[in-house]
Symmetry: C2
Subunit: 204 residues, 2 copies
């Protein structure tokens, strides 16, 4: 019997990936005049992946990875005005409105009448707290768990913290890699709610 | 009667500010050849303060603030090799060993026999989790609370989460601004353990 529902936030409750996708496009435009060599997207993803262990998920790590990629791909010709532009994008992303997916408010309202819910999300602490506050959804949740990675061990710890056995827990999210497979590995249930796009790192 | 002890981490359990102080000095050296105008320390602190609300506490925000300050103070002459150097410092800081203050291991051992303890720290999620793991102190704590700010409301929430009344809680830390005054404002007790140096932002 299900006793507790865990919900992912980014691209499950609110739109997130489009924010990054738009910046990746502008990053292309910004660097076009340097006539960079190689495939920009591949280089950026390489740098992001290399930096994940150091900088973690979220906007600040993304900004640092864009700057590093830009320096590499322009062979050091990158001008500091462009570095500044990239940092400004970061501040914009962190301040941009949290747009809920259609029907999320109603769904949480209905689900909350049946079962207690917690939010489990990766990313920057301040960024995720701020998005949750701006979303107006905070009151639905019994607890907020902002974690640096989502693996089976993390789900096991969260379930223990709330005193729920794996068979009493269901995780809901848009990422097979972060929300579905590790929750199942931890013995819990999972509901996959695909989003229209996903970061290549979240694909399996 | 005290039922639960909250402990700060940076500069209470392990050295942290010296890591930043050393980088501020190298930042000076790095920019010296640009012959910057104005007082570098003041400018950096201004930018850090301006960015706190966007980027929060921690290494990544510090790195972004150093880059921005460097661009400003060199009038855009900053070379991308130096941007890269600053980003490399960030990775170094995030990977540098966690050096415990003298006697911390013994103190936690002794205290833990008397009372349950929790760790309450500001900063980047991944950074703080990683420092705690490297410190080898994690097993002492009943809970780890990584928060984006330490104010009376946050202390009230933490006490509620652990089911402890304010008069049953004592907060121990090196920052009057973050550890002592807000805990007292929330009705709890506090023990001030001064550290040899403090970031100007933590002074009252």
């Amino acid at each position: 019997m299900i006793e507790l529902v865990g919900l992912d936030a980014d691209d499950t409750l609110w739109h997130n990936e489009p924010l990054y996708t738009r910046r990746r496009e502008r990053f292309h435009d910004l660097l076009a005049r340097y006539e960079p060599e190689g495939v920009l997207d591949d280089r950026l993803y390489e740098v992001e992946l290399r930096n994940l262990q150091h900088f973690g998920y979220g906007v600040k790590g993304f900004v640092l990875s864009m700057i590093e990629t830009a320096i590499e791909i322009t062979g050091g010709r990158l001008e500091s005005a462009d570095v500044r532009t990239i940092i400004d994008w970061g501040r914009d992303m962190l301040a941009s409105p949290t747009e809920l997916l259609d029907g999320v408010g109603e769904a949480l309202e209905a689900l909350g009448k049946q079962l207690p819910m917690i939010l489990i999300t990766k990313g920057d602490l301040l960024d995720q707290q701020s998005k949750l506050a701006r979303s107006g959804l905070g009151h639905h949740f019994k607890g907020i768990e902002i974690v640096s990675e989502k693996d089976a061990r993390v789900y096991t710890n969260v379930m223990a913290r709330y005193g729920v056995p794996p068979e009493g827990f269901v995780m809901v999210g848009n990422s097979l890699r972060s929300d579905i497979l590790p929750a199942i590995e931890a013995g819990a249930h999972a509901v996959y709610v695909p989003y229209e796009m996903s970061w290549i790192h979240e694909r399996v």
